[in-house]
Symmetry: C2
């Protein structure tokens, strides 16, 4: 799964109706250009592709009398909504070591109910533990570890990531169980997109914090 689809569906859904540039802005607001491959090309491509697949409905907007570039507004379909929730649930439960997927899931989790999110995160913890077991069993040669030489450091690194990832998830579960944040069906939702003409508080300022060291 590409994280772009999840992000784009989430943005369009929260707007009701949005054109490419708006989606692009929301993703920047979420910081997605930092932790995912959310470039203009990918976003416009995803919109077109998902429209072709029936997940979005494209409305060609007649160019304003003043001219200007042709725009298209998108609306999410029922099929798209279904896909959105499938991807969102997956992003919270699947452990595939892709931090961008989890980040997107965290940003959008409040579209689900609190209890469901807690269940999904518990499932995630179980998945991490299962993955850890299977990796350690599979890659431990009969002659004992250490046999692998420096290659064993790769496994060591995975296992470490799994363990710390599980621990972090447990702490998140505690925070959510303790009442943090506002989830679907709990009154006034957190505003997750920018309104018309609203300014991105994180958009300007210093140049990006270094994506690469």
């Amino acid at each position: 799964m590409s994280v772009i689809r999840l992000l784009v569906l989430g943005a369009v859904r929260q707007h009701g109706r949005a054109h490419g540039y708006q989606v692009r802005n929301d993703l920047e607001y979420w910081g997605a250009h930092e932790w995912s491959n959310a470039k203009p090309g990918s976003i416009y491509h995803a919109l077109k592709q998902m429209a072709k697949q029936g997940l979005l409905l494209a409305h060609e907007i007649a160019p304003s009398p003043a001219g200007g570039p042709p725009r298209t507004e998108y609306e999410i379909t029922e099929q798209g909504t279904e896909e959105y929730f499938t991807l969102l649930r997956e992003s919270l439960t699947a452990y595939d070591q892709k931090p961008d997927v989890l980040s997107a899931g965290l940003g959008l989790m409040v579209d689900l109910g609190r209890e469901e999110v807690l269940g999904l995160l518990e499932e995630r913890i179980g998945a991490i533990e299962k993955w850890r077991r299977s990796v350690t069993e599979y890659y431990t040669p009969e002659e004992g570890p250490g046999q692998l030489g420096h290659i064993g450091e790769i496994m060591n690194f995975w296992v470490h990531s799994a363990d710390t990832g599980a621990q972090w998830t447990r702490e998140l579960v505690e925070r959510i169980r303790g009442g943090a944040y506002t989830f679907a069906g709990e009154g006034e939702p957190f505003v997750g997109v920018l309104g018309e003409g609203e300014e991105n508080p994180f958009g300007a300022g210093e140049p990006h914090p270094g994506d690469r060291g």
Copy 2:
């Protein structure tokens, strides 16, 4: 940077001369299909592309009398060797949250000298700390954290990953400083590729440990 190039260059270099299928096997031996996007298509593509760019030298092998598919053997050029070491050093120092890049670097680090690797890893730790500082400064609104709502969990997750990643790197530095593994110029090198007809000890067995939870 795509991790495929690093892996392919590393495999070809260790063989001296290799055709696509051999490279493919090495990557499987390293477990790269588990933690990177090393699929046949990507590997053959990378070989062709890098040959076109002068990083590899392609030798068309006359089809054996028995027929069979046409093969090409590749050899690394001087330019390719340079690129290899550039990518390898980058993979060990750059903190871009892509675990596949670090995994590849760990698997190939012994092509460098022990002291250099220690230096690169120290540099990595510095990069992680710098990144952490810039992220926390940049994303902490003046009204105090908590202002961000659940979006703050994304940052929380990044910071947690950075901290545990730095800690793991420190422990790796200790192991290497303590004499673990055999690096370039330290006598009998660790054999990192499969010889002709050698069997991959990790190739068969149970179906893959679940890549996704």
